[in-house]
Amino acid sequence: MALAKRIIPCLDVDKGRVVKGVQFVDIRDAGDPVEVARRYNNEGADEITFLDITATHEGRDTIVHVVEQVAGEIFIPLTVGGGIRCVEDVRMMLNAGADKVAINSAAVAKPEFVCEAAEKFGNQCIVVAIDAKQVNDGSNDQPPRWEIFTHGGRKATGIDAIEWSKKMVSYGAGELLVTSMDNDGVKNGFDLPLTRAISDSVAVPVIASGGVGNLEHLAEGVIKGHADAVLAASIFHFAEYSINEAKRHMAEQGIEMRL
């Protein structure tokens, strides 16, 4: 008997529609987030994350309706990230039925926001999303180093990723979502040293993200990266693998899974 490691499919949502192509043969409307979430739930997803990438403020109400609809019929934990900037944003998402919110650039801009949100709504619903890039690979006698980047990996902040992770946990983050900006979209697997360095230095659960190209990458994230959960988007969207398949593969590697 043990706690299972989690698989979390992530849906990128723009103006209420799933983007980055979802190709399920048996789905009528592959852009409908409710239908995709239903499918993932049926396949055994342990949680679902929505990343709202809507650029305009006006389009942002749509994610609230998506969360409301999904929460009304799918009874597993839901996380919403993207554009969470103030306590009111957090409240709106939780009231719509989200269980957790992921705070990203707003945490960098104003770390106290994390304290405020955790104080108000509890640590359990505050996920801090950490986008990190390697700035030193450790080959020059210096220890490897990763820094926090914002604006989709374009803007360096000079903040050390490990120190930042510890700080965010002390500010009240109940979970960390760690994305390697070097690996994101590359499909060569997670940045395992980064994931492990963060997971081993904080007490809260860590979700590995960025770079999954096959099922072995998911298993490595847990076994070598010490992640408590693994997040992936495209390998599930394009139906290369089902979530069930992924879970069975991980279980075969000796990882405790909910099957």
Binding site: M1, L3, N41, F75, F121
Partner: protein
């Protein structure tokens, strides 16, 4: 079930109760689910759910501020009553959270925090340090037979997220346990009361089954 039953989900300002209410409706479409802080509505309902997220100090503070404590104690005596997460912990005598908070004292016992640096006894390597909160799907071992466990397999996984757990004074009310470094009590049963540390409203089919069982339970 032919007659409808009213389920009051107590709203004491602690987090979003949308998912609990939706899941109850989904579990049994004959149930009339109301989310309420109205004492009369709570007292008149056929069954009552005490949910909750957040800290114990806020939880007890809000119950007090809204003058709900006597009503909750009363309905916990005479109708099917389900406590969830903080709503389970609040039933105990006292919690160590927030430097110590007195709770409802309906079930004698304490609420304690997971120790730092917990080890996973099943893993013999560096990865054995367990995270807090205990977050995710863990197996629940049913310690007794109970109408709320009906149609739910032994060691079924449910969704947890918590840093504190209950330690009942005597083992009698323990209805379910799970292992997180060490065994912990995650379900309590005492007369017409049932309570879970896990979140049935987030535990997919198994959680809905437990809700359906609760809606059809006469409290004995």
């Amino acid at each position: 079930m032919t007659t409808s039953t009213t389920v009051a989900v107590i709203d004491y300002g602690m987090g979003n109760l949308h998912s609990v209410a939706k899941a109850l409706e989904h579990a049994d479409n004959h149930a009339k689910v109301i989310v309420t802080s109205d004492k009369q509505h709570i007292a008149k309902a056929d069954r009552v759910v005490l949910p909750g997220v957040g800290s114990m100090r806020d939880c007890m503070g809000e119950m007090q501020r809204m003058d709900l404590i006597e009503t909750i104690k009363q309905v916990a005596k005479n109708k099917p009553f389900l406590g969830i997460c903080i709503g389970m912990q609040a039933l105990m005598t006292h919690s160590s959270e927030n430097d110590g908070v007195n709770c409802l004292d309906i079930i004698p016992g304490e609420v304690e925090r997971f120790a730092d640096g917990l080890k996973d006894p099943l893993v013999n390597e560096e990865q054995s340090h367990l995270k807090i909160p205990h977050m995710g799907w863990n197996q629940v071992n049913q310690q007794i037979k109970h109408p709320l466990w009906q149609h739910i397999p032994q060691n079924q996984r449910f969704y947890f997220v918590h840093s504190y757990f209950v330690v009942p004074k005597s083992p009698e009310p323990i209805a379910g346990s799970t292992v997180y470094s060490h065994p912990i009590c995650v379900a309590l049963a005492q007369d017409n009361i049932f309570a879970t540390q896990f979140h049935p409203e987030k535990s997919s089919d198994a959680g809905l089954q437990l809700f359906a069982n609760f809606i059809n339970w006469d409290g004995t």
